[in-house]
């Protein structure tokens, strides 16, 4: 702090990206991360662990279906979303995202349907409305592994594009040195995988094998996150952005950053490494993925581009703040309840 310069009057602009944006980047990150976890069993045939893949698929689907709502809500003119398609501009990552996101969600839904068809068909035998809906969705119910693999490959491309655009969209903003790092998309991806594995741990029940699989994903993703953040701070992606991240961690938000480091990164990493406390490890990894985005987006917008000091982070209670966050969570719970109601209980799933 330069004591020779004293600000007398300061003005701050309100953050243009609201907590809705944090929610969108959080749940789409979880979706893409969890989708990747399904690939070894469902597409690549590297792993026989169908249970872990199924849990990750449920995470990918439920979060993927909720994501566009959070994104629309962050627009201050949501009813003009069609302008993206009528007036799209090729130079804007956000414009590309408006094509990548629906492609990903559509393909993911198809992929999920192909993977879950046999389960839906079994559920269709139950009497009552849930059985009837499951029957309608199941079609013939015959397993189509080749179709699932083919669609899985295409979905993987769409997922990669979503991961690329969500990271690049933020990383290209040179006006915010904190965001202007080529490593930012990497951390979004790794924290997304960690959060996806964490949420899948909550879906997987008490089975040892899938827990082990998900623990492996979890610690690998968290270890990569830690290494990437370290490389970022050491200036691998530029000294300006390294300085900005260090300043966020030590000057503007030391407590929040410390909490993220301890509870969002190190503790779940240790728990995952020792295969302990899956529910706690899962919940911590999920909150770690959220906290990281909160710090980058909301605290990042609190750093004045030109002026002195730090504007701070304010969370309103209304739809633009806390209510929005709770609303997205509620929407996800609804989707998760609807989807799991159509499927067999986890205990009956073949490993």
């Amino acid at each position: 702090m330069n004591p020779e310069v004293l600000q007398l009057t300061g003005f701050s602009q309100q953050p243009a990206w609201l907590p809705w944006a944090v929610q969108y980047f959080f749940i789409i990150g979880l979706s893409v991360g969890a989708f990747l976890i399904t690939l070894p069993a469902y597409v690549l045939r590297w792993s026989p662990d169908q249970r872990a893949a199924r849990a990750a698929l449920l995470v990918a689907l439920t979060t993927g279906l909720a994501a566009p709502v959070a994104l629309l809500a962050d627009l201050h003119q949501p009813d003009r979303f069609w302008h993206f398609y009528a007036f799209g501009q090729a130079g804007s990552w956000m414009a590309w995202g408006s094509f990548f996101l629906p492609a990903y969600v559509g393909l993911l839904t198809l992929y999920g349907w192909l993977a879950l068809r046999p389960e839906l068909a079994q559920r269709a035998r139950d009497p009552g409305p849930v059985g009837r809906v499951a029957g309608l969705l199941a079609g013939s119910g015959v397993e189509l592994p080749r179709a699932r693999r083919s669609v899985g490959w295409v979905t993987a491309v769409a997922a990669a594009l979503v991961a690329l655009y969500t990271g690049a969209e933020v990383a290209v903003v040179a006006a915010r040195p904190l965001w202007h790092s080529a490593l930012l998309p990497v951390v979004y991806l790794t924290t997304g995988i960690a959060g996806g594995a964490g949420l899948a741990l909550l879906f997987v029940g008490r089975f040892e094998t899938p827990r082990r699989t998900l623990f492996r994903w979890l610690w690998a993703a968290l270890a990569l996150t830690g290494l990437t953040v370290l490389a970022w701070m050491l200036g691998v992606s530029g000294s300006g952005t390294a300085h900005a991240l260090l300043r966020l961690a030590t000057e503007y938000r030391p407590v929040s950053f410390g909490l993220w480091l301890l509870f969002g990164l190190l503790l779940p990493l240790v728990l995952a490494w020792f295969h302990r406390a899956p529910i706690a490890a899962g919940l911590l990894a999920i909150s770690g993925a959220w906290m990281w985005r909160w710090e980058i987006f909301m605290a990042g917008q609190g750093i004045p581009k030109n002026d002195v000091g730090f504007y701070g982070v304010h969370l309103s209670l209304g739809p633009e703040g806390l209510l929005g966050i709770v609303g997205t969570l509620g929407l996800w719970v609804l989707i998760a309840l609807a989807l799991t109601a159509l499927l067999r209980p986890t205990a009956n799933v073949q490993g």
Binding site: L6, Q7, Q13, D74, Q77, A175, D307, G309
Partner: protein, 239 residues
């Protein structure tokens, strides 16, 4: 009328002639400006008294919502060898030659006219806020009433009618001078020719078209110093 205003009206004669033959500005039609002109501003900080009359005039002219500003005058106390002095810094959109707020817009709602003025088509803007993030000068905000991006327009509606921007018109000390940078006879061009002028945050590479006379180097880029003890938005103060 001071020199800057007289010269401005000389310069505007060309613009007015062009406007007369240009198609009328229907709500959906974008004003294009005249490519022979390049509007810019010089702010002579030696004349600015930090009265915020420009802030108020802009808010009145453009009806910005309470607590949002298209222009403000930041004020600082700068010390040298223990001797403090007051410094002011009017801030606004720089109508950059190479504006990073434009390419990020996903729907092509923000654009630059041929005369350099950067505008937002708020019938097209989706309020995504991407341009707000991309502007290195914090010159943009989302207008809480329209839900679209908002910023200084150099009062294009007034300029097209042959008037000065409201902040220039009202400036008590005559610190804000506006005119055609392409015309060497305008007051802005002459001030630039006769004085050492500087621009904010040059390293951002955006070629800002607002220039300052008498700008302290410590205020030129991101200012590092002691924040104001009380930083309340106008909205908070009024409530």
């Amino acid at each position: 009328m001071d020199t800057s205003r007289r010269n401005f009206f000389k310069g505007i004669a060309v613009g007015a002639a062009a406007t007369a033959v240009a198609p009328s500005h229907a709500a959906t039609e974008r004003p294009t400006g005249d490519s022979r002109q390049r509007w810019g501003m010089v702010i002579d900080l030696r004349r600015c008294i930090g009265c915020q009359a420009c802030t108020v005039a802009c808010g009145t002219e453009n009806r910005t919502p309470l607590g949002s500003y298209r222009t403000v005058v930041s004020q600082y106390e700068l010390s040298e060898g223990g001797r403090p002095r007051r410094a002011v810094l009017p801030r606004l959109c720089n109508h950059c030659e190479d504006p990073p707020c434009i390419p990020v817009c996903p729907v092509d709602a923000t654009f630059q006219r041929a005369d350099g003025i950067v505008l937002v088509d708020n019938t097209r803007c989706v309020g995504c806020g991407y341009c707000v993030q991309a502007c290195p000068y914090d010159a943009r905000f989302i207008n809480a009433e329209t839900g679209t991006a908002d910023k200084c327009t150099f009062c294009a509606h007034r300029v097209d009618a042959g008037l000065l921007p409201a902040c220039v018109e009202t400036c008590v000390g005559g610190a804000r001078v506006f005119g055609d940078l392409n015309d060497p006879k305008t007051a802005v061009s002459q001030l630039i020719a006769e004085h050492r002028v500087s621009r904010l945050n040059e390293q951002a590479g955006t070629e800002p078209q607002v220039r300052y006379i008498g700008l302290d180097g410590r205020l030129q880029s991101k200012v590092e110093g002691v924040p104001a003890p009380l930083r309340a938005s106008l909205e908070e103060v009024m409530s």
